[in-house]
């Protein structure tokens, strides 16, 4: 037969992928998550208004990139876990949620294609952002960008990010960053979705191409 099979992990044939631009940014009152809305199967856009910002707890959300199926499976499990956790210990911290994501991504790294940014607000630590790239490592950051489109905005974000911005400043910063990512990355596009997490709970925002393309 054909010798020992070498198993290289990449997207399975015909799989739906989130070639993506996602980011999460901490600011004065909490944290904001942002994402484009394009989902692709090969060259076809399977969904142009995808919601890549997923709730895992009231004030802990995540941005998903990589395989749509894998990231949805992971977030479903984390959601379930956090429900158990809440029943036993009360509201989870962002770090707890991120740590569960990390464990799942790390222990299943051979079988999953998932790059996730976890962001949340808790009263003790305020807004926090944890980035969990492909191998399952975890990085606490002031802001995080990920996905195929993020490569185009590393410089822009580094130059323009400031700590403790106001909500409006942060939204503007993210809108500009994601607009550039969408502009230069073919697999990102559609609308820009955002979720603002503060002590008041989540607030959803949406920006259409005519809002951000002319910035």
């Amino acid at each position: 037969m054909n010798g020992i099979q070498v198993d290289i992990n990449h997207l399975k044939k015909g799989e739906v992928s989130l070639g993506t631009s996602i980011m999460a940014v901490t600011f004065k009152d909490g944290v904001i998550l942002g994402a484009d809305s394009r989902t692709t199967t090969g060259a076809y856009i399977a969904n142009r208004v995808t919601d890549k910002l997923t709730r895992v707890h009231d004030k802990v959300w995540c941005c998903r990139s990589g395989s749509a199926a894998d990231t949805q499976a992971v977030t479903d499990i984390v959601q379930h876990y956090l429900e158990l956790y809440t029943a036993q210990f009360g509201e989870p911290s962002t770090k707890t949620a991120a740590s569960i994501f990390k464990t799942l991504c790390y222990e299943n790294k051979d079988n999953l294609t998932a790059g996730i940014i976890v962001a949340g607000y808790d009263d003790k630590n305020k807004g926090e952002v944890y980035s969990i790239p492909l191998g399952g490592s975890i990085h606490k950051q002031k802001y995080a960008i990920a996905g195929s489109g993020s490569t185009f905005i590393y410089g822009y974000c580094d130059k323009n990010f400031k700590e403790d911005m106001t909500k409006e400043e942060t939204i503007n910063f993210m809108k500009n960053s994601l607009a550039q990512a969408i502009k230069w990355d073919g697999s990102s596009g559609g609308v820009i979705r955002m979720v603002v997490l503060t002590k008041d709970g989540p607030e959803r925002l949406i920006f259409y191409p005519e809002d951000y393309e002319t910035l």
């Binding site: 037969m1 054909n2 020992i4 099979q5 499976a73 992971v74 499990i77 569960i100 299943n108 079988n111």
Partner: protein, 154 residues
Amino acid sequence: MSIVPNKNYRSAVSSTSSHHKTSNAAPALPDSLRNQNGGATPLSTQTNGKHPLETKLQSWDQTQRNRDLEQYRRVFGLAEPMKREMELAIVQNSDFNPLSQSTDSGFSTSLHRDILLNREASVDWEDVYQGSGIVGGVSMGPDVHGAIEKSLGI
């Protein structure tokens, strides 16, 4: 906390292992009909060339259960998964069902066990296509060779 089980290709196969099923008629000989993983099967086919899904599916349910138990351990403490496993063991050991040859294959006839595994209100392919004969050295469901041997008194 595994979600998807790994593909468990075997890297080595023993040609002299002692746990081969032996023939009922001549206990010294390996039963090549029952031993799909030994006897007449070429060694090369045992180490590679399996469908990637096969080994994943074999350990899928166990993987999901292990993940659940690990979650319980983290949230409720070690007592919780231990309690659940002990309950399952009790139910499994008191399972007296002479009509069913299989107790730990994919399908089961024990309602108690199904309840503990949260399967009492669902069906899956394993319940519909129960398989037969011997697979991987384990007898599952009605066994053709066994039935013939029994009827002929071998």
